[in-house]
Each structure stands twice: as structure tokens, then as C-alpha cells.
Amino acid sequence: MAENIDLVETAESTKTYLGFWIYIMTDCILFASLFAVYAVLHNNTNGGHSGQTLFSMPYALAETLILLTSSFTSGLTILAARRNNSKKVMLWMAITFFLGGLFLFLEVKEFNHLIQTGNSWRVSGFLSSYFTLVGTHGLHISIGLIWMAILVFFIFRNGLSKKTIKGLTLFNLFWHFLDVIWIFIFSVVYLMGHVGL
């Protein structure tokens, strides 16, 4: 095993971490606003279907488990990076990328299914807010996937350096954050929708 990489934070990197944390908080408020909008509109079905009939719990649960697993494997990249094992980092990144991509695929499939069966965002305030809330999360996941691809390219080219480890850490913050948001989406949109609250 190669020697451990020095993870001591420099003054510059603490600034980046603090800045990124504040960015995540702003994103949190962005999602909070979308949740509030969803809460206000979720009963306004305008004569269309409600969440109770539209959402499939096993499907949503599968999506949830996939995303949670991707968060776990993404955490493992940091452990591998601490041991300076760039091959393992890339392996775990690849798995995370695959799981994230699978999640996104399932989400797009669900959206497509809803639209095909005549439940597009134009039907009601409820569906508008549903598509926007879940879609914004999906957009963040897409950005995460692009970010992952770039990080893997960097690590492949330059190996593990201070810069790539910083990127990896920031990416992990972002990815775990999206996980937390998804748990709220799962609870508020799917679980509560299933129960009919």
C-alpha cells in the first residue's frame, strides 16, 4: 500500500469547502421552496389523477435503494483516496456513475410513462409541481454524472493529487446532499402520496 496522502487542509481549500457548504445551503433553500410549492399544490389535481393512483411504491423504493447505494459507493471512493489507491477510486466511481445513471434512467422512464398515459405537467397544478420538484432533483443528478465523468478523467490523467482529492470531496458533499433531498422526495411525494395525505 502506498503512503497515505496528506489530507491536511490548506487555507485555500478550507475556503473552497466553506464556500461549497454555503452553496449547498442555498440549494437546500431552492429545494425547500419547491417542496413548499408541492405542499400547496399537491391536492390541486384539477380533475386528473392524484398521487395515490399514479405512483408505484415498489418502483419508487427501487429508485431510492439504488440512489442510497450509489451514495455508499461514492463514500467508498474517499476511503480509497485516503489510501492513495487510485484504481479503487476509479472502480468505485464507475459503480457510482452506473448507479446514478440507472437512477436517472428509471426516473426518465417514469416521467415518460406518466406523459404517455396522459398525465403530463399540463394536466394540473399537482403534476406541474411533481414534475418540477422531482425533475430538479434529476437535473442535479445529471450534473453530478457529468462532474463524475470529468473527475474520473482527471484522476485517470493526473492520478490522485491535492486538486483531484479536493474535487472528490466536494463531489461527495454534493452527492450525499442529493441523497438527503431524495429521501425527502421519497417521504413527501411518494410515501405521503401513497397514503393519500
Binding site: 464556500g19 454555503i22 390541486n44 397544478g125
Partner: protein, 660 residues
């Protein structure tokens, strides 16, 4: 519903056809742009402009560019104000005035949007960029490149807003574009989309700046400057930027949802289809009310610096000032409903928000008293910043009392949507925010340019502004009580409004004289810069760190980073005939110029323009371009340049030699 239509989207020839007054506006703007380009080309200054200014990451230069753009916007939106006042002075009875009602709608919408987002926010970020790094004894902000991106996004939003004058039309739905009026059904033109996207782009810039300055204040302070030793301006910026970070995401969401309604046919705020227009009003004010405090807090901070400096006393009640700022930050999120008491939330809800609105006046009152006590028994120097300050204390207090009156829901039911309200918030924004920023510009001008502004002309300007303000807005208070509603382009003769409207129009003329004096002041000062030169670097007998270095401040601000023991460190240093302690000069890095901020903003402009006109290819080009630009920047390892002893200015070399 048309998502995307052809290579040019919805854009066609009719977008370029306007009425005469608008054509004159377009011609004036176009000709001034061409004139500016010709002058720069003739003087062969393009390279200088590009390397020294447009690509610069120096926060002082970025700050100046902010102020330059903001002043242009102030003049533009001021012209809008003049047109509205002229229209209201003459459009009585059979006389329809000179503006059509649809054009009038666009003018008041553009006036509000431009003044808040591009004049006031621009002046604020300009002064923050100039002030904060200097006052905390730092060489730079935490993320210099991000700072440049923020600035250029602000410019992109500004250009997009003004493009609406020439291509298509602007929103006629007011500065906050309430639905259902702003929905596609009732505003089918591109006007509201222009409003949405210029705010969206500038708003993201503001959000990034908010993050940047919080980190700057928390991480870049001079050694020894703990939080309770920070100058009050820095505290106020900290509070204001906290509000930016908390409130601007709500704006981003709200106007995105409005755009989704208009573009994808969603039903967030539509009157039918399960939408809820009242939700928009709640969301926009959950951002909009904090926004008012975002603007006013830095102005409070500037006044705190100025009143202490020009009274030759330390600021009275420092700790209570800090607590007042944070009380305002907290309370500003608990009052938003007072903007729509009449919407029907019930008396309990209205009662709560009415009381909270009265409560928020308390910390503001604490600050007013602290400033007055700072002046008490001081040796007051009545320079022009101090004149602005006195005008502020008087007019802001009157406006504040009017605000407390409006906070009483039954009174608000009477005065809601009237000119009384318009007079109230102009008291806050003009005599609070603008006077603060004018004072701040006068105060820090010598630190940036190396010479002071001619004070006597500045005093005239300040008096014209104060007297003009009284003439322009006191009639509006009276008109409001008489029942004149806002946004009215025509009224009946027997209402008896006309004399007061004429007085208000005269007031705008006097304010115009104030603006003229300010422009004159700058020209005269440039001509007489030799006499006005600031040789000591400390023209006001200042108290804070920025006055300890020479004027104009060099790119790197401090050759050796200062250390702080006291709140007014530089003042204390002067009292004990401070001698430079021996410190070894060490090389340090400053960021290299970067043109990528410009590129990203140009691409953001493309995205906005494409979204307004539904042009698919341009939209994709913009998004992909921004991604590539960000990746390209993150690849760049070589973003810093080193400053060695040889690069220092002559003064700094002498100082360092003297101390070594």
C-alpha cells in the same frame, strides 16, 4: 403552445417595430454605444480596456465597473421616472398625455426592475467589492474568478433587459410581475420573459457574490481581527450577504416556475388548472422583503463608518449595532405578508405580520439613535457625505414612521396600492439606500483614484437631492391619502390631483439638478485632480485600515498584511505615533486576469435570449458553452502571478525600506 419554432424561434420583423418615443430611446442608446466604440477605437484603447478592466480580477476594478454600470442604469431608470411624472402632470381630463397606456405600463415596470436590480444592487456590490477587502485588511476576496463571473452575469442581465427596448418589448406587469396578469394568457408577448431572464441571470450573479463575500469575511480577515473588531460596514455586509444567500434561491425558484407556466404550459400560478396565483405573491415577497434589507444594510454600514469618521468619535453602541443588524436579518423573514394584507389571510395572520413589522422598526430605531449619539459632542465635519447622512436621518425616519403606519392592517386596507405606499418605499430606497451609496462613493473615491471629489459641488448635489426628494415625494403621501392609486396614467380633472402631481414633477426636476451636479462634480474633480490629490492616503482622518495605505490603493492592497488589536486600529495607531514594526516582506500571489468571466456571461446572455425567443440551437449552444468554459477553467493550473519586492509601488518600497 409553441416550444421551439425554426432557427429563429419566435423572432421576426415585427419585434423591431416600435412607436416613436421608443424608437427615439433605441436610437439614443444605439448612437451612444456606437459613439463609445468609435472613441475607444480612435484613442486605441481596446487593448488597455481589455487587459486593465474587462478581464481584471481586482475587486476594486470590478467594484468600479459595477458602479459605472449602475450609474448608467440609474440615469436610464431616472429618465423613466421623469417620463412618468411628466405624463401624470399633464394627462388630465381630455389630455391623454404623451405616453400610450401600454407604453406607460412598460415604463413603470422597467423603472422598478432597473432601479432595484441594476442601479441599487449594482451600486451595492460595487461598494462591497471596493470596501470589504480593504476594510478587513485583505488583498483579495475569497474567490476572485467567481467575483468576475458574478459581475459579468450582472452585466449580461442588464444588457438583456435593455435589449427588450430594441427587440420585442418589455414586461408591462409591474416590477414583480404578479400572475395571473403575467401569465401567457394575459401577457402573450415576450415582455415578461425578458423580465424573468434578466432577473434570473443577474440574480444568479448576486447569489454567487453572496457566497463569495461571506467566505471572504469569515476567512480573509487580518490577523487579530476577530468578529467583534470588524468595522461596522463589514458587519452590515455580512448580514446583507447572509440574506442574499437565504433569499435569492427563492427568487430563482419563483421566476423559474413562472417561466415554466409560460413556456411549458404548467399550472403553478395560473388562475385555472389547479394553479394558485396567491402562492406567487407569497413566494416573491418571501424573497422581496429581505431584498429591501439586503439593499439597506450595507447603506447602514457605510453611514456607520462615515458618521464616526466625520464626527471624530468612535461609533456609539458598537455591540448594539451588531445585534441590531442580526435582529433585522432574522426579522426580515417574518414580515413578508405585510405586502398583501388585503389578499384575505384573515385577521389573525394579518395581526401577526403587522406586529412583526412594527417590531422590525425597533432595531432600525436603535441604529438611528446610535448614529445620533455618535455625533453628540463630536467635532463634526460637514462634508458632503455628512450632508447625505443628515438628509438620510430626516427623510428615512419620516419614511419609516409612514411604514409603521402602513403596518397597521386597517390603515393598510385604506392606503394599499396608493401613492402613499409609493412615497413610503421611495423614502426607504432613495433617502436610505441611494444616499448611503452616494455618501460611500464620495468617501472611498480618493482611496480608489488618488484624489478627492470637489466637496462644494458634492454639497450642492446633496442639497438638490434632499430638497428634490421632499418636493417629489411629500405630494405623493398627500395624493395617496386623497385616494390616488399607483400606476395610473390618466385621471379625471375634478379629482383635484393635478397641482400636487405638478409639484412632484418639479421635485423630479430638482433631483435631476442633483444628478447633474454629481456628474459635474466628477468632471471638475478630474480636471482639478492635481489640487485635490490625496497625498497622505488619509484624507478624512480615518479610523479603519484602508486609510493606512497610500491612495490610490495598489492592486494588492497591502504589501504587508496588517495586524489588528483594536476596533479602530488605524485611529489608535495614529494616537500613539505608530512606528512600523520590523516585518520581513514575503512574496505573495495575486490572481491573473481571466477573460472567462466575460465568456460565461456572454453565453448566459445567449441562454436567456434563446429562452425568451424559443430558439433551440442558441439555447443548447449557451448551455454547452458554459459547461465547457467551467471545465476549461478548472483545468487551468496557472491562475496566479507572483508579486515580488520589485513589483511593489514606490511608496510601499520606501515604507518597507524605512522599516527594515
Amino acid at each position: 403552445m409553441i416550444y421551439f419554432a425554426g432557427i429563429l424561434g419566435l423572432l421576426n420583423v415585427s419585434a423591431f417595430k416600435h412607436d416613436i418615443i421608443q424608437n427615439v430611446g433605441v436610437a439614443v442608446m444605439g448612437l451612444s454605444a456606437i459613439f463609445a466604440i468609435l472613441i475607444i477605437t480612435y484613442m486605441k484603447k481596446w487593448k488597455w480596456l481589455f487587459t486593465e478592466w474587462l478581464t481584471s480580477l481586482d475587486p476594486k476594478k470590478i467594484g468600479l465597473m459595477y458602479i459605472f454600470v449602475a450609474v448608467l442604469m440609474l440615469l436610464k431608470a431616472g429618465t423613466d421616472a421623469g417620463m412618468m411624472r411628466l405624463q401624470q402632470s399633464i394627462s388630465v381630463g381630455n389630455n391623454q398625455g404623451f405616453l400610450s397606456s401600454s407604453h406607460y405600463q412598460q415604463i413603470f415596470s422597467a423603472h422598478g426592475t432597473t432601479m432595484i436590480f441594476f442601479a441599487a444592487m449594482g451600486l451595492m456590490f460595487g461598494l462591497i467589492n471596493i470596501g470589504v477587502p480593504l476594510l478587513i485588511g485583505a488583498r483579495d476576496v475569497a474567490f476572485p474568478f467567481l467575483n468576475s463571473v458574478s459581475f459579468w452575469l450582472f452585466v449580461a442581465g442588464m444588457i438583456l433587459l435593455n435589449t427588450s427596448l430594441a427587440v420585442g418589448e418589455f414586461s408591462g406587469a409591474g416590477w414583480l410581475a404578479y400572475p395571473p396578469l403575467s401569465e401567457l394568457q394575459f401577457s402573450p408577448s415576450v415582455g415578461v420573459d425578458y423580465w424573468i431572464w434578466s432577473l434570473q441571470i443577474a440574480g444568479i450573479g448576486s447569489l454567487l457574490s453572496g457566497i463569495n463575500f461571506i467566505v471572504t469575511i469569515l476567512k480573509n480577515r487580518a490577523k487579530g481581527m476577530n468578529l467583534m473588531k470588524m468595522p461596522m460596514f463589514v458587519w452590515s455586509v455580512f448580514g446583507s450577504m447572509t440574506l442574499v444567500v437565504l433569499a435569492f434561491p427563492i427568487l430563482t425558484v419563483t421566476i423559474t416556475l413562472l417561466y415554466l407556466d409560460r413556456f411549458l404550459g404548467m399550472h403553478f400560478f395560473t388562475a385555472g388548472g389547479g394553479g394558485n396565483p396567491m402562492m406567487y405573491v407569497n413566494l416573491i415577497w418571501a424573497w422581496g422583503h429581505p431584498e429591501v434589507y439586503i439593499l439597506i444594510l450595507p447603506a447602514f454600514g457605510i453611514f456607520s463608518e462615515i458618521v464616526a469618521t466625520f464626527s471624530k468619535k468612535r461609533l456609539f453602541g458598537y455591540t448594539s449595532m451588531v445585534w441590531a443588524i442580526w435582529a433585522i436579518v432574522l426579522l426580515s423573514f417574518t414580515v413578508w405578508l405585510h405586502h398583501f394584507f388585503t389578499m384575505g389571510s384573515g385577521s389573525d395572520v394579518n395581526g401577526f405580520f403587522g406586529i412583526m413589522t412594527m417590531v422590525i422598526a425597533i432595531p432600525t430605531g436603535v441604529k438611528i439613535f446610535n448614529w445620533i449619539f455618535t455625533m453628540y459632542r463630536g467635532r463634526i465635519n460637514f462634508s458632503s457625505p455628512m450632508i447625505y447622512f443628515m438628509g438620510f436621518i430626516l427623510l428615512f425616519s419620516i419614511g419609516g414612521v409612514a411604514g409603521v403606519l402602513l403596518a397597521v392592517p386597517p390603515v393598510d386596507f385604506q392606503l394599499n396600492n396608493s401613492l402613499f405606499l409609493v412615497a413610503h418605499f421611495h423614502s426607504m430606497i432613495v433617502s436610505g439606500v441611494l444616499f448611503g451609496y452616494f455618501a460611500g462613493i464620495t468617501y472611498w473615491f480618493p482611496k480608489i483614484f488618488g484624489f478627492t471629489l470637489k466637496d462644494i459641488i458634492g454639497k450642492y448635489a446633496a442639497y438638490f437631492w434632499i430638497i428634490g426628494f421632499i418636493f417629489a415625494f411629500v405630494p405623493l403621501y398627500i395624493l395617496g391619502i386623497m385616494g390616488a392609486t399607483r400606476r395610473m396614467n390618466h385621471y379625471s380633472n375634478d379629482l383635484g390631483f393635478q397641482p400636487l402631481f405638478i409639484v412632484a414633477g418639479l421635485g423630479v426636476g430638482i433631483i435631476g439638478l442633483g444628478l447633474f451636479m454629481q456628474v459635474l462634480q466628477i468632471f471638475v474633480s478630474i480636471i482639478k485632480r492635481k489640487q485635490l490629490q490625496d497625498k497622505t492616503g488619509d484624507p478624512w482622518n480615518g479610523r479603519t485600515l484602508e486609510w493606512s495605505i497610500k491612495s490610490p490603493a495598489p492592486e494588492y492592497n497591502y504589501a504587508i498584511l496588517p495586524e489588528v488589536k483594536y476596533r479602530d486600529q488605524f485611529w489608535e495607531d495614529k494616537q500613539i505615533r505608530y512606528k512600523m514594526t520590523k516585518k520581513q516582506f514575503k512574496n505573495f500571489n495575486v490572481p491573473k486576469n481571466s477573460y472567462l468571466g466575460l465568456v460565461i456571461a456572454f453565453l448566459a446572455f445567449c441562454v436567456g435570449f434563446a429562452a425568451i425567443w424559443h430558439i433551440l440551437l442558441l439555447f443548447i449552444f449557451g448551455i454547452v458553452g458554459i459547461l465547457i468554459a467551467i471545465i476549461y477553467r478548472s483545468l487551468d493550473e496557472n491562475t496566479l502571478k507572483m508579486i515580488t519586492f520589485d513589483d511593489l509601488t514606490q511608496e510601499d518600497k520606501l515604507r518597507l525600506k524605512g522599516s527594515n
